[in-house]
Symmetry: C2
Subunit: 222 residues, 2 copies
Amino acid sequence: MLSYTEENYLKALLKLSFQNEDRPEAGTNEMAAYLGVKPATATDMLKKLKEKDLVTYKKYGKILLTDIGRKNGIAILRKHRLWETFLYEKLDFSWDEVHEVAEQLEHIQSAKLVDKLEEFLNFPEFDPHGDPIPKANGDMPAIAKTLLAELNAGQNCKVAAVKDTSTLFLRYLEKLKITIGTKIKVLEVIAFDGSLNIQIENEEPRSVSMKFAESLFINQLP
Amino acid sequence: MLSYTEENYLKALLKLSFQNEDRPEAGTNEMAAYLGVKPATATDMLKKLKEKDLVTYKKYGKILLTDIGRKNGIAILRKHRLWETFLYEKLDFSWDEVHEVAEQLEHIQSAKLVDKLEEFLNFPEFDPHGDPIPKANGDMPAIAKTLLAELNAGQNCKVAAVKDTSTLFLRYLEKLKITIGTKIKVLEVIAFDGSLNIQIENEEPRSVSMKFAESLFINQLP
DNA sequence: TAATAAAGTTAGATTAACCTAACAAATATA
DNA sequence: TATATTTGTTAGGTTAATCTAACTTTATTA
């Protein structure tokens, strides 16, 4: 049985490994920063996780999840995303409110609860932020990894997921009436500052910054 | 903010105060036994709770909840019973499975979550065991406190709640097709051993033990 | 009421998760 | 490549919640 804290370390490592697709390992400071603890604390915990065969760890080396560690991390991510979906769909929580509560709910221990919750929600594939929900066996739908910023003028796409899940960004999206699935057409790319002119569904064209375009994952449309 | 453990002590004290209607206070050993810790541990924690003004406590004296302590305890009970209702009604958990998971869920911190959950469940008054669910303001429907064992031959009643929530008892009730609201008629009281002959709804009459009759709270019917 | 039993407390340890401060290794840069 | 910077580790300490063992107070009973 893993402690609340151990679970958080595994989840952090998993998230960091997604963030750098080609580099699935992380460093001590990186993990500490992500978890809001001091590096010394992370060192201690990583040694402990190594003892439990959940991560590979060597002094001054990079950290990787073992297969068991990965399996556990994915189970937590699954719970997190199912709870987010529940909060959003059944309890009318907004996009930016779900995360904080799901951080707590993801640590509830009950295999039956997770599976029943999934069934109750009708086996959703994606959470409210568009991130894929792992199945009970650990399978996970492919992650969209094209950013809006990578498109050229004239191309069409559908919003697949948010890269930035900060409240500020999510509120801004709400204001622009952008949710998962919203269609966007790129009208023009401004070379000067990387900003885009886009058309959201059939609304009036508007401009968004490069920072904005780098925060949205999309699926291209023909 | 209360710790997980502090919350459990408050809830325990509240539960013990319900168990002895006329004696709302508890002793150190009693609490320790209830919580599964050693008396020395309970002593330490009670001192801490006293510092926080959640209980009244004096060396070698009985323990009582303060108003603040009671308020907090009721908030936890509210969460516990709402989650039990959710598990039972929405996720198809059985009578005897809900408690364990609700023990974990009751510690999730989010006022919005509790209130939204209550709304989602349609403001239930009683949990799956028939126990009253406190409202957001702390109000609580009256508790049925007549036992089936107190009735005489010829009297009718409706099952209001279970006094014993052990798996063994709940499973037995299921077998007898007794749930909250089931009508029972007392046909005969056997003076020898306190057992009863009863009719459950319109089933064949059957005998139940005194122990059984002392484990069910009922509301009398005319 | 004196002896015994039950209930409750204290002191001193332990464990998990955290910290600070000082140090060591690895990496980047002048 | 020597030095500076970044990254990571170690040692020693803190806090919350637990324990055991010894002790004290209160309650029961012979």
